[in-house]
Symmetry: C2
Subunit: 440 residues, 2 copies
């Protein structure tokens, strides 16, 4: 008879989870940091940890909501501008009991209404607050929807490769099957629907029922925006195959100003008209952790459901109720999603290919490491730069990448790049393959 | 071929979940509220929603942490006392990037250290911050541990009846089996270990492997504290049966001053000495939602692990990493768990028995309702008082209860009780059984 919580008796799905963003590289980086080494964390898009300052207005508003007794202080206007005071009073009026009271499990109705207004302005189609659920960050929303969807290992979820490991990890945790479709590096990480069909046929021949398709738009780790034409193809594919489309759109405010604009899956779908606009099931995710805000630590986000049957919405509501409510301060941040209008300088990530010489691949094998993990560990030890190996996101056989955020302060970038280049030169030199090079 | 997200194709475990605290009664109460009826929500322990004021000090500290730029304002001392300013600077120094940066997935190391110090002072035994995980409220921690434990329907979790429906709902969601043990109403809701052994034998004869045992101490919905003798019996039972004990101790600061004091399961275990103190596996849960704080909306909490193998801790850490980090403002509140020392006036809940006359039970059956749900719905419609039927917590066959929080403001209580009594008298009159009475 084994004990309650032994490794051997853990839920097998828990053991199967792979989570590269905070995996071996992150743990080693944390160890080195404890030993006193200066580490540059580029493994998670965490802009405030790398020096980005929070936007003043929403922080002032939340500070006042946390300390509502200050509203009665005669000096309050010395520290808080009038528009902040008005906004804080507005949010407090939407709560029953301030930030310390549980809200409805879907979030405060008044905040959901404001999120719906943001979506309506963005897409040109009104959005229903009753179909918006506020969440502790977008990840929690993705986990709720995948958990509701997946019945067992013969349920498959189409996921782009490379992908953000939230999807592979959550699908493992829910006991489902990840069905990969490959984005084309040579075509600016675009999506080829023929290739998608092949992935589906192959999975079906293995007894998999495809339930849902994930798109990450703009892409993580790749940074690209899907074209409207491509989105229409995807929606048509979901219509034909009766799949729910999970639109991870958390980077919608993180695009280069001169690049292809972001168009939401919802707008594209509603533009297509009936029958598609009334039948294709869509769940769209967004967060305050990205975009102008970068408010990762606040854990605010939402998902919005389109064409999901009311009985299913009820079930998702019921499960959300078990943990009572999303954090209320994070909900206040979520309502600011539509308020701020500064331009953003660029995407958060870079996903360069690394060409590893055969001797490096051999050395990695001897060390019992995946080759790009081997490279990233060496990079970390030599320079303190903490990245994520491409294998954590998925990549084609024999091709290697690493993901780094491009968030460190601008003035630090030249030194970081210099240190990176020096390491790479020495690594290539060491493994004596002078044809090897990195695109970094 | 069915669509992606139809009721018919949902994860069966999701459909099985019952969650009474926000179930039929809550939904009906929300409808009535929308229609303009004044509702007194006593269904969830949500003190701020019922008028409890937040403690000033932690709110001031968090407000300053949210608006750290105020620390540079020459007027800051007009609104914030010096000790608040010092404390806010201290917490900001524990973060890397303030409240807007993801923390480690277990929470900020500096906050975990302070929580460990609180536990150490409480129990007289030092606590290891590496074995403390901060969570978005205690419920999320319970869900993480049960998810890691349960492999399938033949894994059983011992849960007290009556219980808080978080446990039944989460066990359903994870696909496991709830094995009930009954608390004795006639013995002040105490726990009889012989009765526990019978529950275990019966479950085993049905092919169930018992993995863990839940205790809720002080009890929810019943309010009692377990005696040290009873705790020792329980720990000895877990030792013999090799079960992990899940100690839900979220009401540890909610006890009547003249009642039996709260003693933690951890202190009791460590007092017992080896081999038990080194072998019995224990996970203890706590939260800022209860106690002096009642800071439900902030979603702060933690669990602490005792005698859990490092490999298991690593797996739990890995899964926590998928959602990146608990909300950081809630972590600040968690570190205040040990700081505040006001006495508390009483427990949060009352769980009176209701004697339903046979004709009321028949009327309930005709309406397709469980009898206590029928009673609580009638109560809601007549008075606006929203309670939770005892069937949501579990109760013996033929015995009915309801749970109400005793949180409404003291000056409102006489009117609420009057309204309740009037309803009950009329209900009993209507069902023509003049022997029927309520203990309320």
């Amino acid at each position: 008879m084994s004990k309650g919580l032994e490794f051997e008796t853990l839920n097998e799905n828990v053991k199967k989870v792979q989570y590269a963003v905070r995996g071996e590289l992150y743990l080693r980086a944390s160890e080195l940091q404890k030993e006193g080494k200066k580490i540059i964390f580029t493994n998670v898009g965490n802009p405030h940890a790398l020096g980005q300052k929070p936007l003043t207005f929403p922080r002032q508003v939340v500070a006042l909501c946390q300390a509502p007794f200050l509203l009665d202080d005669p000096n309050v206007e010395l520290l808080f501008p009038a528009d902040v005071i008005a906004r804080a009073k507005h949010y407090l009026s939407l709560t029953s009991g301030g930030l310390g009271a549980y809200s409805d499990s879907r979030g405060l109705p008044g905040i959901r209404k404001e999120v719906a207004e943001f979506i309506g302005r963005r897409d040109g189609y009104p959005s229903d607050p009753e179909l918006i659920f506020l969440t502790d960050g977008a990840s929690k929303g993705v986990m709720q929807i995948l958990n509701a969807t997946i019945r067992g290992e013969s349920d498959g979820i189409l996921v782009p490769v490379p992908q953000y490991p939230l999807y592979s990890a959550t699908i493992s945790l829910c006991g489902g099957s990840l069905v990969p479709y490959y984005l084309e590096e040579t075509a600016n990480w675009g999506l080829d629907v023929n290739q998608l069909r092949q992935s589906v046929s192959k999975a079906r021949s293995n007894g998999i029922t495809i339930r849902a398709m994930v798109i990450i738009n703009p892409g993580n780790p790749t940074g690209q925006c899907l074209s409207v034409a491509n989105l229409r193809e995807i929606l048509h594919f979901c219509y034909q195959e009766k799949l729910v489309l999970l639109g991870d759109e958390v980077y919608q405010q993180n695009i280069y100003q001169d690049a292809r604009p972001f168009i939401s899956a919802r707008k594209t779908l509603l533009d297509m008209g009936p029958p598609m606009s009334q039948e294709v099931q869509l769940v769209s995710f967004h967060t305050v952790s990205k975009g102008y805000w970068g408010e990762c630590g606040q854990r605010g986000g939402y998902f919005e459901m389109t064409n999901i049957p009311p009985k299913v919405v009820d079930e998702i509501y019921k499960v959300a109720s078990i943990s009572l409510s999303p954090n209320v301060p994070g909900q206040i941040f979520s309502s600011h999603l539509g308020l701020t209008r500064q331009p953003v300088s660029g995407a958060m990530y870079s996903f360069p290919q690394i060409r590893l010489p055969p001797k490096a691949i051999e050395a990695a094998k001897r060390a019992g490491k995946v080759p790009d993990v081997f490279y990233c560990l060496k990079l970390l030890e030599a320079t303190g730069i903490s990245t994520v190996p491409g294998s954590g996101f998925g990549q084609k056989e024999g091709v290697f990448h690493l993901r780094t955020t491009i968030l460190p302060a601008e003035e630090d970038m030249p030194a970081i790049m210099e240190s990176f280049k020096k390491f790479n030169d020495e690594f290539m030199e060491q493994y004596e393959d002078h044809r090897g090079y990195s695109r970094m």
